[in-house]
């Protein structure tokens, strides 16, 4: 796949001056919209996870006219609900040396120096407000006997700043946002559209002015126009078919926006989560994550000897290799996710993996149970242990868990400036759907923080600055009609192929290819192979896919086919991005770029930049670089040893 290099991106709209004053400055400089005018301004929010749900609720509270869309049957189902472990905030309630600056520092370092300092600092600042907001909504965080909030530690940090609600933190935070959203629905400021899927973005006069959606129950194609559009449609990990994402998670909304002119930044940055339940068979439809919080008390090990097939309990202490504690004594089992994942892959590649196919490592709670007692372990992790037993049929109180890395999160996404606005004026992108805060690797418990920071606090301020110039008047019919026709003809095309393979069978094959060639370890050779194979598979898809049923009904095969089609195009861009970035950083490990110990080796001279890709219908994407400068955190090779 060819590409060309375009002009650099020079202005990210972040204010100048000391980093701790930038957000205050931006808030003050942002134009305000008078309350009477807010009612006349229409905003579309797509997606109802932590970012979209909180944004729609907050925009409604501010008095804007909001339309909120989700593909599920209720906004409460968005996949943020599955986040287990917790949410970071620089409250320093423990007095253990935490601060906004330290959270900022840990996040920049954890992201392997590929995130923007200004954005990350703001995230750390806003983090404290999120906890206040959630508690006031009635989110039942874990508490100590004194009635104050409990915290725990998470990977990549040496302080205890992660707030949690047993193993269901995402659920509780999402329900808080969902309830705030439903309150606005009742108040009439938000109109809710469930079972609606966004299939295109309407761009008129150079501004994002609406979306084309399909009513998934009736099949009707609808037009919705507005003064601004917010995409909060999550990540694209399902390009790998097997991931910890929900089955419905997809790239369609952001990909169609990309086709309309929004740049796609760092698509190759993929997070492989170290603690997931291993694959059990060919029919596997998704992978289940076991919260990273388990690494607080669980110890990761494999047998010292290759091919040792004794039961774990029969392997004596001195014949076990607690490899994370051995290689990274300072952080031990709490090293960041990218490092833990690659270490697991390495020991399995050495032939020391456990379980079927040797693709697994032990996560052992024996010592924790001896130290704290079974009850205490059950109180902390009971629901996770139950989940594990339900899926595997094994009891982790007696037998160590088996875990293996799986695709979990995508740090890449649509490029946004400091205001979270994409390269299309009026199109804002928040949460996992954008690229902004996590660099090349996201730390645990930071996704919830970012989603809610964007939705409750950042976007509602910055979008006002844009909307102050509105309302933007009628939308030209031509632009709306063009988008609608495009959507309709694509659906007709999918239905008319009438081939012999299901959309899922193509998706599975694409996912396997991406895992093998663009997964935990990437090489020039593997990426070139993928770039050769993806267009062939895409061609076969458009000639041989079988979509049963019609467009005018609930048709889950048609929904799936449309999403898979977009995954092909995204997969190609991911591989290209991974090929061009010849360094290793965070979740992107190029085998050619490693140090003597096998750790990721960055190339700051050539790659301290964001790669923002502009779409080209001729499949010759244009690369725009945004230079990354570090004035506050000194760039160093990460070390957790």
């Amino acid at each position: 796949m060819k590409f060309v290099e375009g002009p650099e991106i020079r202005d990210t709209k972040a204010p100048e001056g000391p980093i701790e004053e930038r957000w205050e400055k931006r808030k003050f400089a942002a134009k305000l919209v008078n309350p009477a005018n807010k009612r006349k301004l229409n905003v579309i929010v797509v997606g109802t996870g932590l970012a979209g749900g909180s944004a729609a609720a907050t925009l409604g509270e501010l008095g804007y006219n909001v339309k909120s869309f989700c593909y599920q049957d209720s906004p409460r189902r968005a996949h943020s609900i599955a986040a287990q472990g917790g949410i970071n905030a620089a409250k320093n309630y423990r007095g253990d040396g935490d601060s906004i600056y330290r959270l900022f520092y840990d996040t920049v370092k954890g992201g392997d120096f590929r995130a923007r300092e200004s954005n990350v600092y703001r995230l750390a600042q806003v983090s404290v407000n999120i906890i206040d907001q959630a508690v006031a909504q009635g989110v039942p965080f874990a508490r100590e006997y004194g009635g104050l909030l409990d915290t725990r530690s998470f990977g990549g940090a040496q302080v205890s700043r992660t707030f949690y609600a047993r193993g269901q933190t995402g659920q509780q935070l999402l329900l808080g946002a969902y309830q705030a959203l439903e309150r606005q629905v009742a108040a009439g400021t938000v109109e809710m559209f469930t079972r609606h899927e966004m299939l295109d973005l309407i761009v008129a006069d150079g501004r994002a002015r609406g979306i084309i959606v399909r009513d998934m129950v009736t099949g009707e194609i609808e037009r919705h126009v507005a003064d601004a559009v917010v995409l909060a449609t999550g990540g694209y990990g399902n390009v790998f078919f097997l991931s910890t994402n929900a089955k419905g998670c997809n790239t369609t909304a952001i990909w169609r926006a990309h086709e309309r002119g929004a740049y796609f930044a760092n698509p190759c940055y993929t997070q492989i989560h170290p603690t997931c339940i291993p694959v059990s068979g060919e029919y596997q439809s998704k992978l289940t994550l076991m919260s990273e919080s388990l690494r607080n008390d669980g110890r990761v090990w494999v047998p010292l000897r290759k091919g040792d097939d004794r039961a774990p309990g029969d392997i004596p202490e001195d014949e076990r290799d607690y490899y994370l504690e051995r290689i990274y004594p300072a952080f031990g089992n709490l090293v960041p996710r990218d490092i833990a994942s690659r270490a697991a892959k390495n020991v399995c590649d050495e032939g020391r993996g456990v379980g079927p196919g040797g693709l697994g490592v032990y996560l052992d709670f024996r010592d924790a149970i001896n130290r704290l007692g079974r009850d205490a372990v059950e109180k902390k992790y009971g629901n996770l242990f139950e989940m594990y037993e339900r899926i595997t049929g094994e009891n982790p109180y007696d037998v160590p868990m088996r875990i293996y890395p799986a695709v979990h999160y995508t740090m890449g996404g649509l490029w946004v400036d400091y205001d979270l606005q994409s390269t299309i004026p009026g199109l804002f992108v928040i949460g996992e759907a954008n690229f902004s805060d996590h660099g090349a690797n996201r730390l645990g418990a930071s996704a919830l923080m970012q989603g809610l920071a964007d939705g409750y606090f950042v976007l509602p301020t910055t979008i006002g600055d844009y909307l102050a110039a509105g309302p933007f008047g009628e939308v030209e019919e031509e632009a709306v009609a063009e988008a609608e026709i495009k959507v309709r003809s694509r659906i007709e095309r999918l239905l008319s192929v009438n081939g012999t393979r299901t959309p899922d069978s193509f998706h599975r094959e694409l996912g396997k290819l991406m895992w093998d060639y663009c997964g935990m370890e990437r090489t020039e050779e593997s990426l070139r192979k993928a770039l050769e194979r993806i267009p062939e598979l895409r061609k076969e898809f458009w000639e041989n896919v079988k979509v049963s049923g019609t467009a005018e009904e609930l048709n889950q095969v048609l929904e799936k086919a449309g999403r898979v089609a977009d995954f092909f195009d995204l997969a190609e861009l991911m591989c290209l991005d991974a090929l061009v970035r010849t360094e290793s950083c965070g979740g992107h490990f190029r085998a050619e770029s490693q140090d003597a110990d096998g750790e990721a080796l960055r190339d700051d001279e050539n790659f301290a930049h964001v790669s923002a890709w502009e779409y080209s219908p001729e499949r010759v994407p244009v690369l725009h670089k945004e230079a990354l400068e570090y004035d506050y955190v000194k760039m160093t090779q990460r070390s957790y040893k």
Binding site: R76, V135, A142, L148, Q172, T194, T288, Q556
Partner: protein, 246 residues
């Protein structure tokens, strides 16, 4: 494993619907129930048949989207388990399994096993929240909460809104769902100012949606994948009575 499935097929709300029999071969005991249905659907698509429509999303037991009545029990016989977390190792080789949608008047069938549960959203809209606009909250530590209260509130708050309680109830009551939210917020200091008005508004909405009354049968809590306890309903009734006294 080889199985016989008897599945409810209904092309839309206007269709009367019927049970249709399918054979599924070579099912692995490690498959989840939904993966077994995936295998059936992949075959139906290739054969040119309409695959069985069912709701699902996270497939890890937390989004609340999946749900079907399996052999007469909402989410199947394994306790405290959503349909997506049910695995085939709990079925016998050669078994016949019946699969039906939630059946309750306020949950009309959309297609096959997919039902419309938007009534639940409307019950939350009626009052299932604390009125606190973004940015207006005091410091999180300004109000300590007894650990016992926080833990009990959490237990009630784990409801995933799947609707199994309604499907299992002989009266088609949504009391467990409604009571779970009322209990969650009623146990916390943050929920006090709106406690009484909330209970009244939510219960009235539940009635308006056409859900039946509670007669303490307890089928709801028996099938609840999150084990929401029955005594939440007592708390709901208590808050509701107070509202009507005023």
């Amino acid at each position: 494993m080889n199985l016989t499935l008897k599945v409810w097929r209904q092309s839309g709300p206007a269709d009367a619907g019927r049970m249709v029999t399918y054979k599924v071969q070579d099912v692995s005991p490690d498959m989840s129930f939904l993966e077994m249905l995936d295998v059936l659907n992949e075959r139906l698509i290739i054969e040119g048949d309409d695959p069985v429509a069912f709701d699902h999303d996270c497939r890890e037991g937390i989004c609340g989207m999946c749900g079907m009545v399996i052999n007469g029990v909402a989410h199947g016989e394994q306790r405290a388990t959503t349909t997506c977390q049910l695995h085939m190792r709990h079925f016998e080789d050669g078994a016949t399994i019946t699969i039906e949608p939630w059946r309750a008047a306020p949950f009309p069938v959309v297609k096959d096993l997919v039902v419309d549960r938007s009534a639940f959203d409307r019950i939350i809209q009626a009052g299932g929240f604390v009125s606190v606009p973004a940015g207006s909250a005091p410091d999180a530590h300004s109000v300590p909460v007894r650990k016992e209260d926080a833990d009990s509130a959490f237990d009630a708050a784990t409801c995933i809104g799947c609707g199994a309680c309604v499907a299992a109830c002989p009266n088609g009551s949504a009391s467990l769902f409604t009571a779970a939210k009322i209990t969650h917020l009623s146990l916390l200091p943050q929920g006090q100012p709106e406690r009484v008005t909330r209970a009244k508004a939510m219960v009235d909405q539940m009635d308006a949606e056409g859900f039946g009354g509670c007669t303490n049968t307890g089928e709801c809590t028996a099938v609840c994948p999150k084990g929401i306890p029955l005594d939440t309903i007592a708390r709901m009734n208590s808050d509701y009575l107070q509202a009507n006294k005023k």
